[in-house]
Symmetry: C2
Subunit: 216 residues, 2 copies
């Protein structure tokens, strides 16, 4: 983005810019696989929005009638969840400079033109001189809660340390939405939080320490 005057470019313009900058891109046909076509068909039949195209055929959440019973909704409409495919990263260097980035699997059977939280500064992704944050989960809930920025805002304005700020935001800022986040502070603290069943995550430091987790 240092080669653009703008902070946010989307759709065809973003793809053209990526190609100009020498990034690898693929034709949309790359994503049209037998699996994806099958999942989209199931999603349409169930009149549901899917978080993840890897949902197994046997997943009970795909039964249309069950969607309305499990109480999971997005802005009032029923959704099915398996495991969000977001890949996010929050890093801090030895000078305390923080950065974050978020890639997302998006939603299946969403409306054309829908943008989620991942590319929105302050929603799914945020970094400043205090901390860096990357979120995953129900994009609409994360947008409503400006979740990533609020972790930093709670640290800056309430003076809480990183993990307490993360816990506060997951508990107080998310409404009915399910989401999680990873974060690092400028002093090298590492934190995470989520209000769903689990969140795939990992942590690594320069000296070789590594840790992964799924559940609480």
């Amino acid at each position: 983005m240092e080669n653009s005057p703008h902070s946010y470019i989307a759709f065809e313009g973003a793809e053209a810019f990526a190609r100009e900058q020498g990034l690898e891109t693929v034709d949309n046909s790359y994503f049209i696989t037998e699996d994806n076509i099958g999942m989209l068909k199931l999603a349409k039949e169930a009149n549901t929005i899917l978080f993840d195209y890897r949902i197994p055929d046997t997943c009970s959440a795909l039964a249309g009638a069950d969607n309305h019973k499990n109480g999971m909704v997005m802005n009032g409409l029923p959704i099915s969840i398996y495991a969000p495919e977001t890949v996010g990263c929050a890093v801090v260097d030895s000078n305390g400079f923080c950065a974050s980035a978020t890639s997302t699997g998006g939603l299946m059977n969403k409306m054309t033109g829908r943008i989620g939280d991942s590319p929105l500064i302050g929603s799914g992704t945020y970094a400043c001189d205090v901390c860096a944050v990357s979120c995953t989960g129900e994009g609409e809930a994360i947008i409503r809660s400006t979740l990533a920025r609020d972790v930093a805002a709670v640290m800056e304005y309430k003076g809480l340390p990183l993990q307490e700020a993360v816990d506060y935001c997951v508990k107080e800022r998310l409404d009915e939405g399910f989401a999680g986040l990873i974060a690092v502070s400028n002093t090298g603290e590492v934190a995470y939080g989520f209000n769903c069943t689990g969140m795939f995550r990992g942590c690594a430091t320069e000296d070789g320490f590594m840790e992964v987790g799924i559940w609480e």
Copy 2:
């Protein structure tokens, strides 16, 4: 947006949704006027991004060489400013419910696909149970500062009243960018702030009080 499961829809998808919902839309050719073509030509010749298509031909900022002297930059590239055409609104009702909306004239000679702050929840537009905020100015600076959400966050987390929160955010959150905002609190306070020369604004209450302003 109550008729969509999503919080954010852009480009063709947003236009299709607007038409479905019965909103009036116009063909893009509506915006291709002689004035606009002339302004775009001038902007391209000056290799500058323009905030507003109503910039008069005599505006000195249009002289390419001057752009680099006046020191106004967007993410490091020179820009010319006349008067942003944003129309924003922040309201509170007798129950203390707050709402805001922002429409924008956008930029001229921007990159294809550029999205500014106006449609981004937390950047150019934000409302919660504490206050409602609408911003105007250099979109990229407003996005970097998550300006609208931060007014609310400063009230919530630092406990400042509305005008102090607005002043704090304009002073502390905006970096080199020029911007302004209007805001109302859930108790009916009205506030504004900007770090540029002036900002067109008005205020009206149910009992007939009206006030307008341009300068400090």
